[in-house]
């Protein structure tokens, strides 16, 4: 099997699963119980929380465990909007966000908020100048993704954070496709809120984090027993929190070497695909090497995907989160401005476990499949 759909999800690392199982066996108590087993579970939970922040350089930040990046994005956007609506009702984002941001923005518009969606440029990202230009006195929040899930385009989050350091608006970054893959440190990139998802870096599904500044208040979206500093009620899933901390540590471990490996495979893949006809690359050279997006002509992406599946090669058409709808890829439409290209886009997403052999074999089968099906 050649798995090139790592942006949709990754398989859990056996070491992470092992942690999850062991924690469920010996730390299953409620971390808020006052007895000894509860104490042990709490100790583990807090250690996991500290580790997540430490790994990301978050000296002034804390981590709230959630069910995934979708929940983190919902909590960040709705929570900040509700809290600061007295200051203003203006939010800035981009026109190629993930649905878990875009749909929340649409909902907020229904609640009376005004959303400016900055248009991404030819490289697929927005610029700090665009953000600067869109800021008004009533802007309370800016939300951009770190790495686009379809094109791999990288937003200049550090530059945007620096622009916003002079403004009241908070900066939220959906880093689901970036953290664990690209270097990211809150020391250099002082953003206010960050959404993370474990299953994008060999962790577990149903496991996310919202990083926020230590003293940042936020309107909770789940009310109940006041767990997670009152920001996210519900008995905390300690095993999943531990698995998150472990997966993140393993992902960051030796990151430069992993990134270099993926970068070189990305180039080989680009070079190989450049030799084929009826294929155009949508991912800018400056994009994350983990994601490569192409448009194919003369064949439906879905057909190609099924054809490759027969040879146990797995890719995706539009992002898995929106593939149930027949809509064209919004990110690719935003990037290229070309409806046909957006309709016909396919995505290959790599991981540090992808091998040169995988890529070579893929290129061979891909060329043959294209020939056969066209």
């Amino acid at each position: 099997m050649i798995y090139l759909d790592n942006a949709a999800t990754t398989p859990p690392d056996p070491a992470v699963l092992d942690t999850f199982n062991k924690v469920y066996e010996s730390f299953w108590a409620n971390p808020h119980s006052l007895h000894r087993p509860g104490e042990r579970a709490e100790q583990l939970l807090e250690q996991a929380r500290t580790q997540v922040c430490d790994v990301l350089g978050g000296r002034d930040h804390r981590a709230v465990f959630t069910s995934g990046a979708t929940e983190s994005n919902n909590l960040a956007l709705k929570g900040i909007a509700a809290l600061y609506q007295q200051r203003g009702k203006h939010i800035i984002s981009t026109n190629s966000e993930h649905p878990s941001v875009e749909n929340v923005l649409c909902w907020l518009e229904g609640e009376g908020f005004h959303v400016t969606r900055l248009l991404v440029g030819v490289e697929g990202h927005v610029t700090a100048d665009q953000v600067q230009g869109a800021l008004t006195d009533s802007t309370i929040l800016v939300s951009t993704m770190f790495v686009n899930n379809e094109s791999g385009a990288i937003n200049p989050v550090g530059d945007i954070a620096r622009v916003l350091s002079q403004h009241q608006a908070l900066y939220h970054v959906d880093a689901a496709q970036g953290i664990g893959k690209l270097p990211f440190s809150l020391v250099d990139i002082p953003v206010d809120l960050v959404s993370i998802s474990a299953h994008k870096f060999f962790g577990l599904k149903g496991s996310g984090v919202l990083i926020l500044r230590e003293r940042q208040a936020i309107e909770p979206q789940l009310l109940g027993g006041g767990q997670e500093f009152g920001l996210r009620s519900g008995t905390v899933d300690v095993p999943r929190a531990a698995a998150m901390a472990k997966a993140l540590r393993l992902a960051i471990n030796d990151l430069p070497a992993k990134l270099a490996g993926v970068t070189s495979l990305n180039q080989i893949l680009r070079d190989g695909l450049a030799e084929l006809s009826g294929l155009v690359c949508n991912s800018p050279q400056s994009a994350s090497p983990y994601i490569l997006n192409y448009s194919v002509y003369g064949i439906k992406p879905e057909t190609l995907l099924q054809g490759l599946s027969q040879s146990e090669i797995y890719i995706s058409t539009v992002s898995a989160c929106s593939s149930k709808t027949a809509e064209p890829s919004s990110a690719i439409l935003a990037l290229t401005g070309d409806e046909a290209r957006a309709q016909n886009s396919i995505r290959f997403s790599l991981s540090h476990r992808t091998t040169l052999l995988d890529i070579e074999r893929f290129l061979e089968v891909f060329a043959a499949t294209l020939d056969k099906l066209r």
Binding site: T19, K22, V23, S26, L34, R36, E39, R40, Q43, L44, Q47, A48, Q51, A242, A245, K246, R249
Partner: protein, 408 residues
């Protein structure tokens, strides 16, 4: 803008006579320990201050570290240049152009330690000021400046100080001996400990532990607080004594009327504290009592409680409002630990209506009902001592810690 270094100036230790050198040596040792992790930094001692040469290190984390060294009054961030008028005016221009806050009106002041320098201080100030006025938009205001840019001309080179930050003040720890701090785990006692250290005293903690009435988490709290306080100690370590208080506490609440329970308990705690303090060579006891805060902290209560011992008891937060205490707790990072909601020995048996004006006579009556002396002995002898090191929190259940490390 890159600052070349930080001058740390000393405060009131300059009022001291023969001991001054000892004080400065103590500060220097502390500074070296705090800055261990920064490889490129060089520390020079001059007769009047310490010069921390940054060599490219970001000044903010350095100042954060040095803010834990009592005895430093001010941090002056400087850029240096050759002791030459052209170099001084060029550097001063670059420095004021790079100031963070636009629109700040500045004034150039000059001190000339190097008396052989060909120009006098007012002349240098005038030349530099005029040069800045001509070559930049930075507003100058000699009468009401927002910021004084200080040019200090020395023989080897000159310093241009363009930013000043307050230091922690106080006196270097160790010069005044050691105090035993009664450390309950609440907000007040760590702040009291901090203020004792600020006056140059080392501290050792004393905690009364009453399992099963108090949970291990309460003890953990005390160790975590001690870890925060240890950062200020010259050794980076703080000793915490844990008193096994259960038997005595039970005896008190069996024989003493409810309204006098806390008073008698505090009297016992003072007796035990004095015993431990004497054994440890501490000349003082300190605690977080604040006037009027709870029943045992009225003047009348303090009188009846304090009278059982002769050692001086210093109460640094006695006259502070809770808000002021909390503000310091935030600065020293103990606030969030102190507010963890676990019972300690002072909260577990709180009566509905404690006496706010206990009398000696009734105290003596209460104490005549049981053999407290033997129980006090047992507490003082049964103390367990633990050394808590800055940056290395003590976990009361190290087994679990190891288990957790392996899992994460």
């Amino acid at each position: 803008m890159q600052y070349d270094g930080i001058i740390a100036t000393f405060g009131e230790i300059f009022l001291k006579g023969k001991n001054r050198n000892r004080f400065i040596d103590t500060i220097l040792r502390m500074v070296k320990r705090q800055l261990e992790e920064f490889d490129t930094i060089r520390i020079r001692r001059t007769h009047a201050n310490l010069n921390v040469e940054l060599n490219g290190t970001d000044p903010d984390p350095v100042i954060a570290k040095l803010s834990k060294v009592f005895g430093i009054q001010r941090f002056q961030l400087y850029t240096y240049c050759e002791s030459d008028i052209d170099a001084i005016k060029e550097t001063a221009l670059a420095v004021v152009n790079a100031l963070d806050d636009d629109g700040k009106r500045i004034k150039i002041t000059v001190t000339r330690g190097h008396k052989q320098f060909p120009l006098k201080s007012p002349e240098v100030a005038r030349i530099v000021g005029q040069y800045i006025a001509k070559n930049s938009n930075v507003p100058l205001d000699i009468m009401n400046p927002d910021l004084k840019v200080k040019v200090q001309i020395q023989k080897a080179r000159s310093f241009i100080v363009s930013k000043e930050v307050s230091g922690p003040g106080g006196l270097p720890i160790g010069i005044n001996g050691t105090s035993l701090l009664m450390l309950s785990g609440g907000l007040d006692s760590p702040v009291a400990g901090y203020l004792m250290m600020k006056r140059g005293l080392g501290i050792e903690g004393l905690h009364f532990d009453s399992p099963p009435y108090t949970s291990p988490r309460a003890r953990q709290k005390v160790f975590d607080l001690a870890e925060k306080l240890a950062h200020y100690m010259p050794t980076g370590k703080m000793v915490v004594h844990i008193v096994p208080f259960t038997a005595l506490q039970k005896a008190i609440f069996e024989v003493v009327p409810e309204s006098y329970g806390i008073t008698i308990m505090r009297r016992m705690m003072y007796r035990i504290s004095e015993r431990v303090a004497q054994r440890r060579g501490c000349a003082l006891i300190s605690n977080g009592e604040s006037l009027g805060q709870v029943a045992s902290q009225t003047p009348q209560s303090m009188l009846t409680i304090n009278s059982v011992i002769t050692m001086p008891v210093i109460r640094p937060v006695a006259c502070m409002d809770k808000i002021e205490i909390m503000a310091i707790a935030r600065v020293i990072d103990t606030h969030d630990i102190s507010i963890r909601p676990y019972e300690d020995c002072c909260t577990v048996f709180v009566p509905k209506s404690p006496s706010t004006a206990p009398t000696f006579k009734r105290c003596e009556q209460c104490e005549s009902r049981f053999d407290w002396a033997a129980l006090v002995d047992a507490c003082a002898e049964g103390v367990m001592s633990e050394t808590v090191e800055a940056g290395h929190p003590v976990r009361i259940d190290a087994d679990t810690s190891d288990e957790i490390c392996a899992l994460l």
